[in-house]
């Protein structure tokens, strides 16, 4: 055994010209495979079958099933013309140079198998059309490279046919799961959220303790009784937030911010010990039923507590699931006429968006003048905003397209005086993933995470050098955790990253309404 490899950040590029390909640069980096216990806890086969043929047949059968269930997968397998538009768009390719991290090449890992088994051309002329049999080596390659994709959808923005590698990655992971080849990090967390109620395995009493401690701290700081209520029947708002908000830094600063906003606006709210987790790692595995099961906890908690509004905290992929999928999966939303969804929708107050992002709630209150700020309290910060990939490219806020870009920025400008933008092409719908999304926020992938952060770090460096930026705000628990870990590799302080509601928390006026 050699010692752990020392991970170094790649040098910032002087121009955005693409460097030469580094074939197989990341071929050796494979995240931990889930053990039998983890797999079986979420109803998946414990491990690969002893007989390869059995695995092969099961994988191809699953692929056929998914091709019949997802138009996205079917069209994306057929429509690619290998034009190359996406080849320089992935942050993992930019950071590693590994050609299999180019979106089209990543898709082709599956497309080559699709062609062999599901198209006439690939059945008759495999070599001609780049088709290949599914072998153990191919399956291993899938595992390696589909777990080097953060499902950030940047490639999809630039594809002339809208081909979204995230959809392909999700299908591949779903297939891998069903043949007993799941990923430890993601599947372990799905087990925890199903059994305990949140991704970190925080029990109800432990959560109660944490929240009480927080209330005491805030009492000391502000002299006010700012509450963090848990399981309060009949509260107006049910807040669902990533469980990292309960104790991780800088996440908890945003939780304090939410509490202050509710306090200042006089809105009754509650957390739920049954559904104390906003994150939905079912998305990462591309498994509809797994994602549905995780999401149904929120439906159940909302029905039990009788809340009128469902509001969610700062989390990227979870907001994608909430905004784009909750209505489909659980009926949290509006406009349904089926009994399953109507049961919940008739309870909700449709003067408000359901579900709503905490940024939408805060921005509405700011516009109504119901919360006020002392902007100078943030004057020690020169702030920039990192658009989290799944918020930017998987959701919306407010009424108009692009609200997910404008509303967080509007809030920052309302609570702070010094705000600057990172360079064009690295923000809004073209934003770069932090490098840790989509189920890759695990230590054994640190090398990939450090390298994948390169384009964001380059953009950040530019505003640090030119405008003196010392705070990068973001609204995603994964972004916060990833940057906290990765910023030091690029010679920045880890405290440079924080939440939008951390800024709100600093500047909000509490006593003098």
């Amino acid at each position: 055994m050699t010692g752990p490899k020392k991970i170094e950040a790649p040098a910032l590029r002087q121009s955005t010209a693409v460097a030469a390909l580094q074939p197989d640069a990341m071929a050796g980096l494979k995240c931990y495979v889930a053990n039998e216990k983890i797999q079986q806890a979420i109803g998946l086969p414990g491990k690969l079958a002893a007989d390869w043929q059995e695995t092969h047949d099961a994988a191809i059968a699953k692929m056929g099933e998914l091709l019949g269930k997802y138009r996205s997968l079917k069209v994306f397998m057929d429509a690619c013309v290998h034009c190359g538009a996406c080849t320089d768009k992935c942050h993992y390719f930019i950071g590693t140079g590994d050609p299999k991290n180019m979106p089209v090449a990543r898709q082709d890992l599956m497309r080559s198998v699709y062609r062999r088994y599901f198209t006439e051309a690939g059945k008759l002329f495999p070599d001609l059309v780049g088709a290949r049999d599914l072998s153990k080596e191919v399956l291993d390659e899938w595992y390696t490279y589909y777990w080097q994709c953060s499902e950030c959808r940047r490639c999809s923005v630039f594809c002339p046919f809208g081909i979204d590698t995230a959809e392909v990655t999700m299908a591949a992971r779903h297939i891998l799961d069903t043949v007993g080849y799941g990923q430890k990090y993601t599947n372990e967390i799905i087990g925890k959220v199903n059994n305990i109620g949140n991704n970190l395995g925080l029990s109800g009493p432990a959560l109660q303790n944490t929240l009480e401690g927080l209330e005491e701290d805030l009492k000391e700081d502000t002299g006010l009784d700012i509450k963090f209520p848990l399981d309060v029947q009949g509260a107006e708002v049910l807040l669902i937030t990533p469980s990292a908000d309960f104790f991780a830094e800088p996440h908890i600063e945003s939780l304090i911010g939410y509490g202050k906003v509710f306090h200042a606006a006089g809105i009754s709210w509650t957390l739920s010990s049954h559904a104390s987790e906003f994150g939905n790692f079912g998305l990462f595995n591309g498994d509809y039923e797994m994602m549905r099961k995780v999401a149904l906890r929120v439906r159940k908690a909302a029905l039990e507590l009788g809340v009128k509004r469902i509001v969610v905290g700062e989390c990227g992929h979870a907001w994608r699931v909430a905004y784009s999928f909750w209505n489909t999966l659980t009926g949290i939303g509006a406009g349904a006429d089926d009994p399953f969804a109507v049961q919940l929708q008739s309870q909700l107050d449709h003067r408000y968006k359901q579900p709503a992002h905490i940024c939408e709630l805060t921005w509405d209150l700011i516009q109504q003048g119901r919360i006020k700020f002392d902007k100078s309290a943030n004057d020690h910060r020169i702030i920039t905003f990192h658009d989290s990939c799944n918020v930017a490219r998987g959701s919306r806020m407010g009424d108009a397209p692009g609200g997910q870009f404008e509303i967080p920025r509007n809030i920052i400008r309302a609570v702070a005086n010094k705000y600057v933008e990172m360079p064009q092409g690295t923000t809004r719908e073209a934003t770069f993933c932090c490098g840790g999304g989509g189920g890759l926020l695990t230590d054994e992938l640190l090398e990939l995470r450090v390298k994948g952060a390169l384009p964001r770090m380059e953009a950040l460096q530019q505003v640090v050098d030119q405008q003196g930026v010392n705070f990068m705000a973001t609204i995603c628990a994964i972004c916060k955790a990833q940057f906290t870990k990765v910023l030091p590799y690029y010679n920045h302080k880890m405290s440079m990253v924080g939440g939008v509601h951390q800024l709100v928390s600093t500047a909000i006026r509490l006593g003098d309404k």
């Binding site: 429509a79 630039f158 073209a430």
Partner: protein
Amino acid sequence: MTVATIFFTVLYYAAAAIFVVGMVVKIASFVRTPAPLKIPTPPAPTTTGGVLLRMLREIVLFQSLFKSNRWIWFLGILFHASLLLVLTRHLFGFLQPTWFWAVWVQTYFPYAGFVMVAALVGLWGRRFLVERIRYISTYSDHLMLALLVGIGASGLAMRFIEDTDLVTMKAFFIGLMSFDLQPLPVQLGLYIHLLLVALLMIVFPFSKLLHVPGVFFSPSRNQTDDPRAKRHLAPWAAKLEKT
């Protein structure tokens, strides 16, 4: 009837049948497969009208490709636009009388075929010169370009080198369409052109040319962004609620 006439008659009926049946089967499979989740790539339109405009911008202007890579966009739009002009001019061969706007195209764009071939050569060049694109190119990518260049070049040869007997050729195609067999002129350039076009029709439903119907069915482009306002549920997903 010459052997060539009979050969091309049979070939074109077969190619047309394969093309039509292949495309219908493929498009039907796109239509039948549900999109269970809302996945439009934001910022996405919130209304059907907005989606139509977005699709129009994608299909006519290649909007996303423009954002992505100006070279591919330029060569791509040059190829597709000149192909459209060339195809319009081909209506001469199939319609009696010919529509006025086909005449208009014939009059004002006599050299569209050269532009088309030049754009194809440019696109092909990228497959050799750009390392990333060289890496992703398969044999079929090269062969598809070779086929299109072959079709373009043989077509240009028919017009500018060989003095093709257009009147007889038109009679042949109108005959084909009305099941009234007519002789085909004896000309090498014409034979090559017809052979390659038939090949293109045959491979169309089995190749990456499926991007043509595919772009209309891409959920990331053709969905409205309204998941909170309307419940979107695929039939197979609705069944989960029954259990």
